[in-house]
Point group: C2
Chain length 228, copies 2
Amino acid sequence: MGGDGPGVTERTRLRRMREKGSHRREDLDAVLAAGWLCHLGVTVDGVPMVVPTAYGVEGDRLYVHGSVASRSLVRAPGSTVCVTVTHVDGLVLARSVFEHGVNYRCAMVYGVPEVVTDPEEKLRGLRALTEQSSPGQWEYVRKPSRKELAATALLALDLTEASVKTRSGPPDDGDSEDAELGLWAGVLPVVTAFGTPVPDPALPAELAAAVPGHIAERAGRRVDGGEG
Amino acid sequence: MGGDGPGVTERTRLRRMREKGSHRREDLDAVLAAGWLCHLGVTVDGVPMVVPTAYGVEGDRLYVHGSVASRSLVRAPGSTVCVTVTHVDGLVLARSVFEHGVNYRCAMVYGVPEVVTDPEEKLRGLRALTEQSSPGQWEYVRKPSRKELAATALLALDLTEASVKTRSGPPDDGDSEDAELGLWAGVLPVVTAFGTPVPDPALPAELAAAVPGHIAERAGRRVDGGEG
């Protein structure tokens, strides 16, 4: 691989490029902006509980619905949670079982969540949550009523303690002894995309066919906003 | 929606059909079989840590690499972990912000992981792990050497304490007052599929073009094995 340096050094350099960690805010923002579903880890009675839930980012805060964490919040207010956002980009198919892996982008955010009570922040947070997964819907659909707003628990997490890990590129054994085995190796990409909108069967036919532009334009597009 | 019964009852029945929980083993098996990446929740120094990692199922056990959980295992042997497997099927776009949601299939498995030391089970577990994400690779590539096997920590979790939650179908507000708003509503499907295999640049050209059948046939297919 390459040839612009001694084998081992080159390999080390490439490996470092393929799997990397970061604490840079812009790397965190990129991973968070590319998704809308996180896995929220909370401790309930001393046991970790991992729940998938939608999130939204607004400024320096990440918002999730409080309902999923309510058991934890009630029993252990002020306890730390972990929010993990993962994008899978491909299966790394190496020449040996040992070198198999995954190309991914992952962000982990730790913090003590705050229950949002300020009505204005609650609206901003819910808007961020809605727009993260479904841009355009906040303006298009009916916004929360006072009653609905009161019935919604919203948690905010500061983006102060976070890390990003990614892996990209081919397997690491391209310059190992296993390369002599003559086996195919590479990456099988994994792509998550939106399909064709499916109208609610309860809609009258005319309305069912009139998919709004902000929804229709997403069909076939990658969920993470990437190309290809 | 329907009309084969009083409005409220019908609605209740449909809602129940759309979001459901299950403790049936066959429902658990279906969700686990449709994926290969989980989010593993472990408690480290009293704080939940949620890490994405590959898993494999063999019989009544789920296997994950021990490395990701090693910090936890060393500090708190015998502690309970949570393994969550989530498949996102679509965004539920309702007529109000409040009714927005996600169609998904999710399995949660709790248990105290066991470090696998028996060499035969270790091989079986690693095989399950490899074949879950990459069927055919175990036979195609070089299997673990004695040294590699010793260097790999493998955790096993019994599938005894587990639950499944799913949501499917259209939004729940098709027969609510909001249906009068004349807004489009429905589901924007989310589909995760394999792309075209990308050969390792380190491969000689001839070999690069010779993608093995068990890999080539996955291009364009859904990761969860579903149709469409």
